[in-house]
Symmetry: C2
């Protein structure tokens, strides 16, 4: 009988020979098999569970006897009794390999497990978190060996885990001694290593059985959305959003930059405001998930460049004027406390790289999540917010720009506009014959003309509602191609009422007791400005790419998830494409943030990808203005939109009663950037 | 004529061949010659001045023609006209080597120049500062190349200085953009590299001609002393001290640890207090030197372990009880702002390693400064403060301990004691015949019995004064070997007056208008306790080393500089040695801090030396108590002190009138540590 035996690990297929009696965990380490362990083989964490397979394996030329592994030992018996082991499972740190064997490592025992995201694109995400929990037993202090407690902890990490040269900052050193003593010199530490060497960022007495947690934060101009993610398998435990308190300094980015220019120290006020909101968000997420903020060891933030600079405490004034110079464009990593996040003592934050002065880390996160460079087809990815980030690309080339759509798509600057909340109209249909509307409100599954609709409070119209309303008005012949609303006589409905020199369309009138919800000529103009900016940005990228059409359109952003592709195309928000080729990616920036949170590899991937993305600066491209003017019409003054017209009829009405097309044209001065 | 020529640099002796026409600075870089430059060869900083030598150099087998270097060019002419160049000097970045030449690099043009310290030991200090000023010209931002300003700065550092991979923290990024624009994309940056990669820590528009500055700080329990040092040549521009505001929480270290134990959050109060004092010190030093605090780019701090932990915000409670475990013992480097130092945005602070739970970074600094390991002779180095650090060593072995002397040596716990300030008695002589004293006070050069002494205000007695007073009393037969003060009748002077059951000796009596300054029996006891602790610590190290005598004694510490060796030995503060072998090293801890500030090599040296120092823990050595009791006598109960007795007569008096030696013995409970 040979002294060594053959072992094959599945699903990796890694195989080799080990000395008879080698424990499975040791064999896995020797052969480079991904088998988790937090306690380092002490039989207490159960992360190293494996399942031996018995019988014939002709593929491997192997027969595995039932006694190929040592019998279940006392440690395993106790573990099974107290916590329960699934049938057939063994603890890899206890079971010894006595004969040739095939060992399966189930997904939950792999550190670098693959996780399928639930989002539409079903992209597989590989877990490769920068921070992992490690259980260590530290030597007690001894007056004859005067090294500090941290030095002995570092020695233990090196001896027990081969983690050499671990460092710690002052915050960690401040909590070190009580934790070591409380745990009786046995502690679980969070070890962060994103390629720049190991760093102890958190410490818990004894064996920590719960996973470590991280925050994926999408810092928008209006809202700050966050997910609390378990760093062992990437699952989302809580999601929450808070308003960006910088709103009080200016609704859009440029008004915030202006605030800084007008108010010395205004940048610091805004930085403090967003830091305070970051703290609130961390507390809210932790509360929702039922954990302590001190269990959060990492955060990833994505945001646009102005938010980026204000978050970091950098005066954003240079971003308000050409050449829109960023103070720094690379990804950053620093202590999470520096931006107000309440977390473990030395928790780290990673901020994705910026693509350019107007194309931020949020766009980088979208690029990471949607990965247009991995497809042969040409994808147009549009992340709609107060500022739209637009990415166009395929495996050959990726372009990006941002376009100042303003907040109209979010229901702001709209007469009856409101944010998406119960009571807001979110869907609308207008009968092309009767010109009568019916609608749905958030929080009510029924159309307004159904008996089950009841008499709910109707409060206003949200972003997706206004898009549908304008598109339906266009399809019903209430609005003409130039964007003019017809009079009651022209359209043939009393719902078109005069409002000064223009008209408005009444969707719902509960006055005098309740609100009167209308779409005014001003609302149409605001939507036209926003959609023209969006379309012009996309066209600019298509010009640069030398194409006239795209293979697919992805609507990203929390808002993008609620836009109806048909209505968006009726408005001419996006280039013509088969409706089936227009999909929503949900909050792609948030997904990108989660991917970067769960994987160091993903960070490196986007950092190298960002360098390859070509940036188009809309602000200085003369053709942007041309595209913008042409895009003012509904859907467009010159682009034919054949795919759209194959499924939708657009009445050829015109309500311009002379005096030129002035009111309906694109001549009105837009406010640049938003 | 060959295309390359020979060049020899002095004083380094480095030689080699370079292409004809090579500039001297380029030749120096190629041959690894230490030739300074801040502007990178643009002819504006003048740091690269060199002096060519002409004629025959038989040693080198070389003849240098008068035209071996290119003629003085327009840049040099302008520089000479505007600022002046010394005769014979050339700018190394302008002069081209046209023929074989010998070039002298004067000391001021060397980065790693050697500087002789002014202190007694005249140790040569090599300049090797972690931070140096570097002038760069940064590319302007361009909308078609969207890298951030910092990325372009980093590229410039790499291209112009071969400094690759420079990093910056948020504080630096916050000041980057205005500085670049103010300097017209020409800036001088402070680049810090202590072996962990380059880091931009400060930025100034244009060429900064002034040097960068650093702080060397000796953080003591009672006072915080600092030097402001120019980092180009190590000169001290200002020195100042502030009181340690933690005094209000407890005079000695152990009472501060007790304060923390009794008052939750007390450690944070004390940390805030010392940070605030650090800020004050930085401002005071900068003000005195006429610079801005923003020009300070580095600081080095030395201190004892309790001060170390309180400075870093670490609860020092573990240092108050066995086994006196440090939270961390290694050297630390982190942003200076984290400990309240007002300095350049990203200024760094380096804290020397701790030797053990009771032997701090201050002792490490003394070891760095005095370097006992470089001598064959056995040195005993005593740093006297509220806590005494004692180092014993030679080239074979170095030992260290600390001993809780308490604050008596600083004039505290002494009836007429005060800190060293004008009006304090600092020297004293007592006539052995008449028992009459004469003294000198701080701020007056004359003895009190001289007519020139005048009638100054006499306020008390400082640390060195009380040591001399007790020693003189012993030599004059006023105090016996057990420490008892005799009565007027026993001693034969009316200056010995009764005070309860004991006696006191009147040095000066201006009552009722002014103070009555006496040495009481309690004062003698306080000094005995302090000196016994000091001596016992030294003896413990000598036991461990297996020796009965030392070759030399070095009195370190600001206070050590003022102690008279003879009087110290009469008291038995230090072991017997020839008086000529007892020297003062001044503030050796402060000097060590300066050395670490000026030299990365010095930091590495002490870090490796600290690991080789054997620590003796006085608190748990049973022999410490034995030595302590025996050392209570003046000078000692059993050690003979032959060297002392060869120069001083010690009267064999005894004032114990029965009742045992209780009052004079060492039985009184000492307060441990302090």
């Amino acid at each position: 009988m040979s002294d060594d035996v053959q072992v094959i690990f599945t699903p990796s297929g890694k195989r080799g020979r080990v000395a008879r009696g080698t424990r499975v965990l040791a064999a896995a380490r020797k052969l480079g098999v991904d088998l988790d362990s937090v306690c380092g083989g002490r039989g207490i964490c159960s992360k190293c569970q494996i399942a031996p397979s018995y019988g014939d394996f002709p593929k491997h030329g192997l027969h595995v006897e039932a006694d190929a592994l040592s019998p279940v030992n006392a440690v395993e018996e106790r573990y099974d009794r107290v916590r329960g082991l699934k049938p057939g499972r063994r603890l890899g740190c206890q079971a010894e390999i006595l004969d040739d064997v095939v060992i399966d490592v189930p997904p939950e025992s792999q550190v670098h497990k693959q996780v399928v995201r639930k989002a539409a694109s079903e992209r597989v995400m590989e877990m490769d978190a920068a921070t992992r929990p490690v259980y260590v037993e530290v030597e007690e202090p001894d007056m004859h060996r005067p090294e500090g407690d941290f030095q002995r902890l570092a020695q233990a990490l090196e001896r027990q885990w081969r983690i050499a040269g671990a460092k710690a900052d002052l915050e960690l050193l401040r909590v070190l001694q009580p934790a070591l003593r409380k745990g009786g010199w046995k502690v679980t530490v969070a070890v962060h290593d994103a390629g720049d060497g190991p760093r102890v960022t958190g410490i818990w007495p004894g064996l920590r059985e719960a996973p470590l947690y991280g925050l994926a934060i999408d810092l928008g101009s209006t809202t700050i959305a966050g997910h609390l993610v378990a760093l062992d398998d990437g699952r989302v435990l809580a999601s929450a959003g808070v308003m960006n308190p910088q709103i009080r300094f200016g609704e859009d980015l440029m008004s915030r930059v202006s605030y800084v220019m007008m108010n010395p120290g205004g940048d610091r006020e805004m930085t403090q405001a967003v830091h305070s909101a970051m703290g609130d968000l961390a507390r809210e997420l932790a509360g929702e998930a039922g954990i302590e903020t001190g269990e959060i060891v990492e955060a990833v933030v994505v945001c646009n460049p102005v938010m980026h600079h204000l978050l970091l405490g950098i005066d954003p004034v240079e971003l308000g004027q050409a050449p829109f110079a960023l103070a720094t464009s690379d990804s950053l990593e620093f202590p999470a406390r520096e931006i107000g996040i309440e977390a473990a003592p030395s928790a780290r934050v990673y901020v994705l790289p910026l693509i350019a002065g107007h194309v931020g880390a949020d766009a980088a996160a979208v690029a990471l999540s949607e990965a247009p460079q991995t497809r042969e087809e040409l994808s147009l990815i549009v992340d709609v917010g107060t500022n739209a980030e637009i990415i166009l690309g395929n495996s050959h080339r990726v372009l990006a720009c941002s376009s100042p759509t303003g907040p109209a798509f979010e229901g702001a600057q709209i007469s009856s506009g409101q944010r998406a909340a119960p009571g807001a109209i979110e869907r609308i249909e207008i009968d092309p014959e009767t010109k009568e509307p019916r609608f749905k409100i958030i929080g009510n599954d029924h159309w307004s003309n159904a008996p089950e609709f009841g008499e709910p409070r109707i409060t206003g119209i949200c972003g997706s509602g206004i898009i549908e309303a304008v598109a339906e008005m266009r399809m019903a012949g209430i609005v003409d191609t130039s964007g003019l609303i017809g009079s009651a006589a022209q359209v043939g409905t009393e719902r078109c009422v005069a409002n000064g020199r223009t008209h408005e369309y009444v969707i719902h009138d509960a006055s005098p007791e309740g609100p009167r919800i209308t779409v005014t000529q001003g609302d149409i103009r605001a939507i036209q400005l926003a959609k023209s900016a969006l379309y012009a940005g996309a066209r600019l990228l298509m010009d640069e790419m030398g194409v006239d059409r795209v293979d697919r359109v992805v609507l990203a952003g929390a808002f993008g998830a609620h836009i109806s592709p048909k209505h968006a195309m009726v408005l001419g928000m996006i280039p013509d494409a088969p409706l089936s080729a227009v999909t929503s990616a949900g909050n792609a920036a948030g997904t990108g943030a989660r991917m970067a949170l769960c994987s160091v590899k993903a960070r490196r991937e986007i950092e190298s990808q960002v360098r390859r993305i070509s940036k188009i600066e809309t602000a200085i491209e003369p053709r942007f203005q041309e595209h913008f003017v042409a895009a003012n019409a509904l859907p467009h003054a010159s682009d034919p939109f054949p795919e759209l017209r194959s499924v939708v009829t657009l009445p050829e009405v015109s309500f311009n009663t002379g005096g030129g097309s002035g009111e309906g044209g694109g001549g009105r001065r837009r406010r640049r950037r938003g």
